[in-house]
């Protein structure tokens, strides 16, 4: 008997990386790797569940930047080229390992996997990966939601309410453009909540969002159901808290499943392991080594001496871990049900890219969890927040504090000595955009001016992505993150200057529209604070 509800949420997001001005661009690989390792496997999981008639519900948040890149014709072509190169590399590996049977089998497995990915992507999906997500949303296994336009870190953009509104509403508009309906839920980037954002979410027609556990537990009055029921923010918009137990089992460096000895080791890639001569065609222009996705070793243990990866054992372990996960939920609901006088809602949100990219066996685990939860006698039933709210629409009102799901639980990761310099610049550009919208929004303007104003807003939004301060803090690809912030702000400055001086250059504007080809329906006039109290429908 189902004594509790399990709401698994996968947040899929990558920053906008789109460089038609270069023939190839290393950071575009982030998308390509995620397609091969995360998005295609996730879609295949959904297809198998549909084929087998498994009754389950899953929530997937697709960020507007990711949706845009998945639908971008240039990136689609480049992904095919990327896969073809990976096929060549796998073929080269098969030849290199022909006298090492165990490695050879693994190389052969990669070649077959790349071939399947290429066939599925190019032939089966016709390069359109949003279509299968839409299909599974329509046929009932998926609830799709979205997030802010470029994943802006909203508490630190809140110096200008217009900036936050623009992030929220542009994101929702982008989702609507691709899926034809408005999402009920909204993923706050980095689960970063601040007091008052619920009003802007309500204005945008949003019914619920997620926060980290402490964000909900620190609410006043203390929510008596802990994180196991939504709270009403006071305006009918519901907040849901992450269950720490589910997070710990998957994310914890010490106790988490992905660190199991049987799983594939992410950090051992032939791009770094093989002699430079073997990798020559697959290096960056400056000779730097890069990850290739071909990895032969398993985690093994806390040692640098890694044992060979054994896919069958790893998959069996993933199924074992799925069973363990559901068993832990059984213990949880058995304890919580009497205390709550009803079924707990256990919210388990994760980065989608964990499943398949960082944790190679993650999709197998996820599929098994969904299958086990659907079995007769399962202690939990999977559902989405919309399902839950349809059954339980009323919840206690409480007011939360600012919180995030990042390190230390607040904004420290996105504002510190490594990245504090960006905020004065972002805020200044936001104020200038607001002034442009106010000064020019009501005036008759030419088509060229309209394009320039809309492009200025695109540049601003792209500069606001939370990924760049995150990368500056984490220390990976710092130069690129810095360049993206500076380039986007420089583009904004150029357009602002050209608009103000009425010296628009069509060629320059066209170049910027080609390079930052996102949010085609954007309207600069909507970059303004909320003064009307209107709610969009």
């Amino acid at each position: 008997m189902n004594r509790g509800y399990l709401c698994i949420v996968l947040h899929a997001h990558l920053p906008y990386v789109h460089h038609p001005e270069h023939d190839r661009f290393f950071e575009e690989n982030w998308l390509f790797e995620a397609i091969t390792e995360c998005y295609l496997p996730l879609i295949e999981v959904l297809e198998r569940l549909e084929r087998d008639g498994v009754a389950c519900r899953l929530t997937v948040s697709l960020s507007p930047t990711l949706m845009t890149m998945l639908q971008d014709a240039l990136l689609q072509q480049r992904y095919i080229r990327h896969l073809e190169q990976r096929l060549q590399l796998a073929d080269q590996e098969k030849r290199r390992t022909r006298h090492q049977p165990a490695l050879h089998r693994l190389a052969d497995g990669y070649q077959r996997a790349f071939l399947v990915a290429l066939d599925r992507y190019k032939q089966h999906y016709q390069c359109d990966l949003l279509a299968p997500f839409a299909h599974h949303a329509k046929t009932g296994r998926l609830e799709l939601i979205t997030t802010a336009a470029t994943h802006g870190f909203l508490p630190l953009l809140n110096v200008s309410e217009a900036a936050v509104i623009s992030q929220i509403e542009t994101g929702i508009d982008c989702f609507r453009r691709y899926f034809g309906f408005r999402p009920a839920g909204f993923w706050l980037p980095e689960c970063a909540y601040y007091l008052g954002v619920e009003r802007l979410l309500q204005r945008a027609g949003i019914r619920y969002f997620f926060v980290d556990s402490h964000g909900l537990l620190d609410a006043k009055p203390t929510p008596q159901k802990g994180v196991y029921a939504p709270i009403d923010c006071g305006n009918g918009v519901m907040a849901l808290g992450r269950d720490p137990a589910c997070s710990r089992q998957v994310w914890s460096a010490d106790q988490g499943y992905p660190g199991d000895a049987a799983y594939r080791e992410y950090h051992r890639d032939i791009g770094f392991d093989l002699p430079l001569a073997d990798m020559a065609p697959y290096l960056l222009n400056d000779g730097s080594r890069i990850s290739t996705g071909i990895k032969y070793y398993r985690v093994t243990g806390k040692t640098e001496d890694k044992a060979l990866y054994q896919p069958d054992q790893a998959q069996a372990r993933a199924r074992q871990h799925a069973r363990d996960f559901i068993d832990k939920r059984r213990q949880q609901v058995d304890a919580l049900h009497p205390a709550l006088h009803g079924p707990p809602l256990i919210v388990a949100p994760y980065d989608a890219e964990l499943f398949g990219h960082w944790w190679f066996e993650g999709p197998v685990w996820l599929e098994s969890v969904l299958r086990i939860a659907a079995e007769t006698g399962s202690p939990v039933k999977t559902l989405t927040v919309s399902d839950y709210l349809a059954r339980h629409p009323k919840h206690a009102i409480a007011h939360m504090q600012q919180s995030t799901w990042g390190d230390q639980g607040y904004a420290d990761y996105w504002l510190n000595a490594s990245n504090d310099w960006i905020y004065p610049l972002l805020h200044k550009a936001g104020a200038e955009m607001e002034k442009l919208a106010r000064d020019i929004g009501g005036l008759p303007i030419t088509a060229l001016q309209e394009r320039a104003l809309n492009q200025a807003l695109r540049s601003l939004l792209l500069a606001q992505a939370s990924d760049w301060p995150f990368i500056l803090r984490s220390g990976t690809t710092v130069d690129y993150a810095k360049q993206r912030i500076i380039d986007n702000l420089a583009r904004f400055n150029y357009l602002h200057d050209a608009i103000r001086k009425n010296r628009l250059d069509q060629r320059y504007l066209t170049a910027l529209e080609i390079m930052d080809d996102i949010f085609p329906d954007i309207d600069f006039r909507r970059f303004r604070p909320d003064t009307s109290g209107e709610v969009r429908s």
Binding site: P189, S252, Y266, P338, D407, A447, T510
Partner: protein, 213 residues
């Protein structure tokens, strides 16, 4: 016999590659332009990007006068300021005064500042452009907020504040045990402290062993 291949120097090869790249690279058009006739090559896109980067890189000193307070965590505020040349005048030292004050206990997105401040903290500021963290010693209470002013030191008095920040909400935490008011059955699943999670490009999921140095 095949014809002998003409000998080309590296410079010739480079020049030919550049010419082909310039004249035969695929061109891109904007979907926003009514006149789709304007298509730009990769090289042209790069030139535009490079020119804008060179000429319009954001400058920290071109900002208007401002004072902004950002709540980072329950123990940290971040403040940045810019005093324009006109404001600086002969005053080289300024006082940044941070007020902690009570606001309405119920959330109000637009906070009305009370007439009088309850407590404050002073910092000496010697640069017209800067930013710093302010560590908060004691826990803030629900319903508290912060605001800041920046004024020249005039005879050790804090007068004529030309810059005011907007108020920032204090971030309040329930401390070490946020579950103390909950039934024990719930608390058991909410403790111990949560692992930190992250977004794109980082995992703390236990892979990637690095030997201790």
């Amino acid at each position: 016999m095949p014809a002998a291949r003409p000998l080309l120097s590296p410079a010739d090869l480079h020049m030919i590659a550049c010419l082909i790249h310039r004249d035969f690279s695929p061109a891109f058009a904007s979907v926003h332009a009514a006149n789709a006739g304007m298509a730009l090559t990769r090289q042209e896109l790069q030139d535009v990007a490079e020119h804008i980067r060179r000429e319009f890189t954001p400058s920290r000193s071109s900002r208007p006068a401002q004072l902004v307070l950002l709540p980072v965590s329950p123990t940290r505020l971040h403040v940045y300021w810019h005093i324009t040349a006109a404001d600086v005048g002969a005053d080289m030292r300024w006082i940044l005064r941070l007020y902690q004050q009570a606001t309405s206990p119920t959330p109000a997105p637009a906070i009305a500042l009370p007439a009088a401040a309850d407590e404050w903290l002073d910092l000496i500021v010697e640069k017209p452009l800067g930013q710093t963290d302010i560590l908060l010693s004691g826990p803030a209470a629900t319903g508290m907020s912060y605001r800041a002013t920046l004024a020249p030191i005039a005879g050790h008095s804090h007068s004529n504040s030309p810059l005011h920040s907007k108020p920032a909400h204090a971030i309040v935490t329930s401390g070490d045990n946020p579950t103390e008011n909950l039934p024990p059955a719930l608390a058991a699943f909410l403790l111990p402290a949560l692992p930190s999670t992250s977004s794109f490009a980082q995992s703390s999921c236990g892979q990637g062993y690095v030997a201790p140095s």
